[in-house]
């Protein structure tokens, strides 16, 4: 009787442990960015970013196609690809990072919000720079998702803005990341 109970406990515990160490992914993460100036607000979104969050190794990776960013103005989208990001030469933006501390055990059935520090590097326009930010992991109704915000400087990534439009494009760009619901990788 005692041994049976122990085995059950161990079994349950190990399954929880296993859950905590799982890898999650999505092909539908949203990455949006915002340039705010007194002249013009510019924003674009890409809803087809790839994301993998590996709880076991604490690793995070995002990959997004530059051409997939949608703008309010089609012409702006064309210029963004042609003149600013040169997406023919640098088709992707990639973030590789990790949680600064181990992710606590996650039970998918238990609603919970975790705020975790993330550090890593963003490769954009052929240049890799470190990024430090905070990610919020949320488990709600058996769904796990993550969001994060951070800012980058265009000059860090050698993205040149001509003087004529210098007032309408912010030097600092705010980036919002939302994985929506993550799927467990099997």
């Amino acid at each position: 009787m005692n041994t049976k109970f122990l085995i059950t406990v161990l079994f349950v515990a190990s399954s929880f442990l296993g859950m905590a160490q799982n890898k999650f992914f999505t092909k539908k993460a949203s990455i949006s960015f915002y340039s705010k100036t007194s002249v013009e607000n510019i924003e674009a979104i890409n809803n087809k970013a790839l994301a993998v969050i590996d709880m076991a190794s604490n690793k995070i990776e995002f990959s997004v196609l530059i051409k997939g960013f949608e703008f309010e103005k089609a012409m702006m989208q064309e210029h963004f690809n042609e003149d600013y990001l040169e997406s023919d030469k640098y088709p992707k933006a990639i973030f590789k990072g990790s949680f600064n501390e181990p992710v606590p055990a996650i039970n998918i059935t238990e609603n919970k919000t975790l705020t975790l520090k993330v550090s890593g590097s963003l490769t954009l326009h052929g240049i890799t720079k470190p990024i430090n930010t905070v990610a919020v992991l949320q488990i709600k109704n058996n769904v796990i998702s993550a969001v994060s915000n951070f800012k980058i400087l265009l000059s860090d990534y050698n993205i040149k803005v001509p003087a004529v439009v210098g007032n309408s494009i912010s030097k600092e760009i705010e980036i919002k990341v939302n994985t929506a619901s993550l799927v467990e990788m099997k």
């Binding site: 949203s30 924003e43 990776e61 210029h79 042609e82 003149d83 590789k96 969001v147």
Partner: protein, 305 residues
């Protein structure tokens, strides 16, 4: 010894970090791109004078101001042609992403021109590759200046029509080329001996020298009987793009800025220095509805505790 050992350990662990960094977790998730539109073949909807493979997007209006000065051959007394200017003002509209119309007026012969252009094939890359873009343009030009022979010509006499195909390809991110054969019919010709129907073989090229500056070339070879004084139009220039503006600065032997004007009424010989400085200025305005924006997507944002 200890130091060397430590260094070696450090080097090894560093190597491991680097090695780990190159492994990508997302690489297995990537979908194959079956078809991706190739955009930005040319900077503007015109190479210089000729229609290019570019289209306006739906809801865009392109206000174009074109200038052609006098021949640089006229020398310093005429400030190398800058004393004389010929103009064309036009408004082009993107009705859909694949259909546009436009209306323009030139000071030369007080021509009014209208056109429609449609894209039938769009160059794409990926698995379902389409190697070229294919467009068709058609237009009508009417001369409104008086004192044309015969006396009191009717509107029909003063009319010209053209139909053009445009086949273009962006070969590399920097280099694009297009061919644009055209059939042009003038009801009244400039010289009595000129053929009314002329075929023009157009060729256009663009080479990007920097992100925003490109060298462009626009040439038309006329087939049909034209007076010896009529030359094939050749224009060479630079495109400078800044946001919603495109500046095209160039040298051309053509003064006419519509299809009839440049194909059948160009008299300067480019290679004898009978060229004129010119510029095209294009400013695109959005008059239609905008596309969906980031903030219009309902993004659930989580608040930190």
């Amino acid at each position: 010894m200890k130091r060397i050992l430590l260094l070696m350990i450090a080097a090894f662990s560093l190597e491991q970090i680097v090695a780990q960094d190159t492994t990508s977790m997302v690489s297995g998730l990537e979908d194959k791109i079956t078809s991706e539109k190739v955009t930005g073949t040319f900077r503007s909807t015109r190479v210089i004078n000729s229609h290019s493979t570019e289209m306006l997007h739906k809801g865009e209006m392109d206000f174009r101001i074109l200038h052609r000065f006098g021949s640089v051959k006229t020398g310093y007394k005429n400030l190398f042609g800058l004393d004389n200017a010929s103009m064309r003002l036009s408004f082009d509209f993107g009705i859909t992403n694949n259909f546009m119309i436009g209306i323009g007026r030139s000071t030369l012969l007080k021509d009014i021109d209208i056109f429609a252009k449609t894209r039938i094939l769009q160059q794409t890359k990926g698995e379902n590759e389409m190697p070229v873009s294919f467009l068709v343009a058609g237009g009508y030009i009417v001369t409104t200046q008086e004192s044309l022979a015969p006396k009191n010509p009717t509107i029909v006499d003063r009319s010209s029509y053209y139909l053009q195909m445009i086949i273009g390809r962006k070969f590399t991110p920097d280099f694009s080329m297009q061919l644009s054969p055209m059939v042009l019919h003038n009801n009244t010709t400039l010289n009595a001996t000129d053929d009314q129907t002329i075929i023009g073989l157009g060729g256009g090229m663009r080479y990007k020298v920097s992100q925003r500056i490109a060298i462009v070339l626009d040439y038309n070879y006329a087939i049909g009987k034209l007076d010896a004084t009529i030359k094939n139009p050749l224009s060479v220039g630079v495109d400078i793009g800044t946001g919603g503006h495109v500046f095209q600065l160039h040298f051309s032997n053509a003064t006419g800025m519509n299809e009839k004007g440049y194909l059948t009424q160009t008299t300067g010989d480019f290679f004898k220095g009978d060229v004129r400085f010119g510029f095209n200025l294009s400013r695109i305005f959005r008059i239609g509805k905008k596309q969906k924006t980031a903030s219009q997507y309902l993004l659930p944002t989580l608040k930190e505790k």
